[in-house]
């Protein structure tokens, strides 16, 4: 399982690099294909970038920058995505996202 988690983290990083400066359009098919095969193996992952953050979110390990103000925090960077697996139809989180959290810009 650790190898799969490693692969997913790499796919996430590749995707992020492509989004910022790469040729995402051309390789998005390949990324989708990899995701499809991971799904066949029972693994899905989610990038929570820009989502709201509060301390009920136990799907993320947050590193909080600056002050924490309830209801005003968001995920500004995702180092690792949330990885889910499914056993007997019950979803399970096998990796929490590692994220940077900060206050939403005014």
């Amino acid at each position: 399982m650790e190898a799969i988690i490693g692969i997913i983290n790499q796919v996430h990083e590749v995707n992020q690099k492509l989004e910022t400066k790469g040729d995402l359009i051309n390789v998005s098919r390949n990324i989708s294909r990899i995701k499809h095969h991971l799904e066949e193996l029972g693994y899905t992952f989610h990038n929570p970038i820009n989502e709201d953050y509060n301390d009920t979110r136990t799907d993320c390990e947050a590193n909080i920058i600056g002050d924490f103000t309830e209801g005003k925090m968001y995920i500004s960077k995702v180092i690792k995505p949330i990885i889910f697996t499914e056993t007997n139809n019950a979803p399970n989180i096998i990796q929490k996202a590692v994220v940077i959290v900060e206050q939403k810009p005014e």
């Binding site: 989610h46 301390d55 009920t56 979110r57 136990t58 590193n63 979803p91």
Partner: protein, 833 residues
């Protein structure tokens, strides 16, 4: 119920853990929320909620008025913590009790937990020890036995090896995430006691991460010309820089772990320059560099060890061994330095992160409970009585959170509640309950989210309720939407049987709208200057029926002339299908080899007929009817033959009409012919389908029994696993109506049978004899066949069956390929494999 305590808790300054000893060994329980074996000893009071562990640790330092850690150091003192959000004070005992309660939640076995061993530092005096006991009672334990941490660690190591050989003095070196402790233990046949100890409450692995960032990473970053501006941001501690620092800390922690096994590590990071352009930086860190960073701190820990020895008038040679406790002892330099300075064996045989909990559980396993098994009726009443509540929530949602309303019939004074998502991704923490609860639940995307609502009594123990598991489906429309009336399939080639078959894309009753991407391979090379087309045929009907009996609702025929180059067999094919709520079908075919995309929207009010395909299907239908007719005549089944004759004439009539149609300009005629063909194919398919299915089912069961006998006596476990894997899908196939599925299952069993046969000595000898009996003139190369037979004979005499296997295979390849039915040779298929 066990008469010994069995359960133990390592109540640490930074992290805590709970373990249980049983006959099978010690189990360190995992946090159901994240499957980690440790829980940060941090408690937060956020508005009306109590949060314990990781989420509280994130806020440590961010919200110092409401989030507290390190309170173990204050145990037994009069110091207390003022909680701003509650406007009340909490004692270290109360905070510790919260951690202990949370650890109870880790125990998944549902056992009642009344007695426990809790570990304490060797430095704890009587007041501090009693304070720990009190925390245990506050957390709901009725019996608390204390055990010193270094003793617990020693026990874990003692139980791993031979105690008599190691009698004497041990050093327990405990370097955790935030604290350092060293203890001198004396151990002999009867006794295990702590002689003396030293420690530093503010030294641990986290300091090493900071040093790696400041001494190595930042220095390398500042010399990159585009990033030199960060030096100033560092000095000013800007928000931008603090964000970068957090990321670097995470990278440092990862690098530190890798450096335990590797000599050097490259850390890749993207940092924005002054113009906002991402610069990729590769930071190289070697183990030597890391060792230099931590040298000073490690040296200090060793000085404490040496002081401890000197104060107890001991030489390093008096120490039998050093045992390692705490995650930071994984660092190779720690072990090297200890060995170098103390010249003593360093024992790393027990996982240092859980050694204390494991040793304490082993102690608990031998400790008799003083507590009698509770028979209190009051207690039983508490667990069996049920609180009645009405719940209200949406069953499905497209939003990222949804509201849950719980309305209790009774007043819930002195009760709390907690809601957790079953996948571990959401936890409200412990909240004071009222008769009406309203909570926003965060949903994981595109899946079923199950939430468990727990109502807790004043001791935070769960009480019975009628609240079911709250299930909310995210990202999908409610099942009240429009279901598909039939299966939607695509037609793919079955090259082995020279026919096409259906592969279901959206099964009947799927809720619209739908979309799916499937990946296949091209099943035949399509030459740019050839005539064969690639056909993606989407059909609606019964997935178990023959393709020609279903209705085409969309078809993309890719003309070879449109291809940029020859499309090679085996290249990838991506087919994306979308069906809207108004039943428009969009098919998009992407050929990865040529990087071409073909996209078309089909409106379900129109029919799509491919003339080439219709012609193929008609000749296939005529061929099949003829074949069945011959069979019926041979079996003297005249009734069946009569029906088939009718079908045959109908089919031939349609073929004639089709030939005529080619010469006319009428555009509608093909739809008519296609419909007639489809109806005839349906009639033909349903004729004797039951009889065919029964025949196949019998064949399957007979084959299964014969393979089972071979598998049972086979020494290789993987063969048994393969067999069980094949028959695990038996129910679906044999009870269903699909001829394809049973055929598929039979095929798999046959492959397994031939695998067993070919991999056994008897099988290979048998195969060789069969091939040797064939006249040389039948082989493609007579001379070579003769020579191979010669070699085979010799291999047989030497009983070298591996060699015989190679010879048999070579002989087999020399046989001409079997002639196939001339009609089947004309099989064109769709090109979709």
């Amino acid at each position: 119920m066990s008469s010994t305590i069995d359960f133990a808790i390592d109540l640490g300054t930074t992290n805590s853990a709970i373990a249980k000893a049983s006959h099978a060994g010690v189990e360190v329980f995992k946090n159901p929320l994240d499957l980690k074996q440790t829980l940060p000893s941090v408690v937060g009071f956020r508005r009306n909620r109590i949060i314990v562990g990781d989420k509280a640790r994130e806020l440590l330092g961010k919200d110092p008025d409401n989030v507290f850690g390190g309170f173990k150091r204050k145990m037994g003192t009069s110091e207390s913590f003022f909680v701003n959000s509650l406007s009340e004070t909490k004692t270290p005992i109360e905070l510790s009790a919260h951690v202990l309660r949370e650890l109870k939640n880790f125990v998944h076995s549902g056992e009642e937990l009344n007695s426990v061993v809790i570990t304490i530092p060797a430095s704890f005096d009587t007041i501090q020890s009693n304070a720990t006991k009190k925390a245990g009672y506050e957390a709901g334990f009725e019996e608390v036995v204390l055990l010193q941490e270094p003793i617990a660690a020693c026990l874990a190591f003692v139980n791993k090896g031979d105690r008599s050989e190691k009698s004497g003095h041990w050093i327990v070196y405990d370097l955790g995430g935030g604290t350092f402790d060293v203890a001198l233990a004396s151990i002999n046949e009867q006794d295990l006691k702590i002689v003396d100890h030293r420690g530093d409450n503010f030294l641990g692995g986290l300091d090493f991460d900071h040093r790696l960032v400041t001494d190595v990473f930042l220095k390398q970053i500042f010399v990159v010309p585009e990033l030199a501006y960060l030096q100033k941001e560092y000095e000013d501690r800007t928000l931008n820089f603090r964000r970068l620092y957090q990321i670097l800390l995470l990278k440092a922690e990862e690098a530190k772990k890798q450096l335990s096994v590797k000599e050097s590590v490259d850390v890749e990071i993207e940092i924005q320059d002054e113009d906002g352009i991402e610069q990729e930086v590769i930071l190289m860190v070697t183990r030597d560099q890391f060792n230099t960073c931590i040298q000073e701190k490690l040296s200090y820990t060793l000085t404490l060890v040496e002081e401890l020895l000197a104060d107890n008038n001991l030489e390093t040679s008096d120490i039998k061994q050093v045992i390692l406790v705490g995650g930071s002892t994984y660092i190779p330099r720690v072990q090297e330095l200890l060995q170098m300075r103390l010249k003593t064996e360093v024992n790393t045989s027990v996982d240092p992160t859980t050694a204390v909990a494991v040793g304490a559980a082993q102690y608990a396993a031998g400790k008799q409970k003083k507590l009698k098994v509770s028979t209190s009726t009051e207690n039983n009443y508490e667990t069996t009585s049920q609180l009645q509540a009405k719940v209200s929530y949406p069953k499905s949602s497209m939003d990222t959170e949804e509201v849950l309303l719980v309305d209790f019939e009774d007043d819930l004074e002195d009760h709390f509640y907690r809601i957790r998502r079953e996948d571990g991704g959401y936890d409200t923490g412990i909240i004071k309950a009222s008769s009406k609860i309203r909570e926003f639940l965060t949903l994981a995307p595109d899946r079923l989210n199950n939430f468990k609502v727990e109502i807790l009594n004043s001791n935070h123990e769960p009480v019975g309720t009628n609240i079911p598991i709250i299930s909310i489906l995210h990202g999908k429309f409610s099942i009240d939407g429009q279901p598909l009336p039939h299966d939607i399939c695509i037609e793919v080639d079955d090259l082995e049987n020279k026919r096409t078959k259906l592969e279901v894309i959206f099964p009947k009753n799927s809720i619209l709208p739908l979309n799916k991407t499937i990946y296949r391979e091209v099943s035949k090379t399509i030459y740019k200057d050839g005539e064969d087309k690639l056909i993606v045929n989407v059909l609606e009907g019964d997935l178990y029926a023959l393709p020609e009996t279903n209705q085409t609702i969309g078809i993309i025929e890719i003309d070879p002339a449109k291809l940029d180059m020859d499309l090679v067999k085996g290249s990838d094919l991506e087919i994306r299908m979308e069906i809207s709520e108004s039943r428009d079908l969009r098919v998009c075919v992407y050929l990865s080899q040529t990087d071409q995309e073909f996209d078309q929207v089909f409106n379900s009010s129109e029919k799509y007929v491919s003339e080439a395909k219709l012609e193929d299907e008609l000749s296939l239908l005529v061929h099949k009817i003829r074949k069945d007719l011959r069979e019926k005549e041979t079996q003297a089944d005249y009734d069946g033959a009569a029906t088939l004759k009718e079908y045959l004439s109908e089919a031939m009539l349609i073929e004639e009409e089709f030939a005529l149609m080619k010469n006319t300009l009428s555009g509608d005629e093909k739809y008519h012919i296609s419909e007639r063909k489809r109806r005839l194919a349906q009639k033909f398919d349903s004729l004797n389908k039951d009889a065919r299915l029964t025949k196949l089912r019998i064949a399957y069961y007979e084959l299964k029994e014969s393979v089972r006998k071979q598998v049972e006596t086979h020494p290789d476990e993987s063969v048994k696993a393969k067999f069980n894997n094949i028959i695990s899908s038996e129910n679906e196939a044999v009870k269903g109506q699909s001829i394809f599925l049973i055929e598929e299952l039979i095929k798999k069993l046959k492959v397994l049978r031939s695998d067993i046969y070919i991999n056994s000595d008897e099988g290979i000898i048998d195969l060789y004899y069969q091939l040797a009996r064939i006249n040389n003139s039948m082989y493609k190369d007579k001379k070579l066949a003769d020579s191979l037979k010669d070699q085979g004979q010799k291999a047989l005499e030497r009983q070298n069956y591996k060699e015989l296997k190679v010879i048999a295979f070579n002989l087999h390849h020399l046989l001409p390929e079997m002639k196939e039915n001339s009609f089947l040779n004309n099989f064109k298929g769709t090109g979709v494999g």
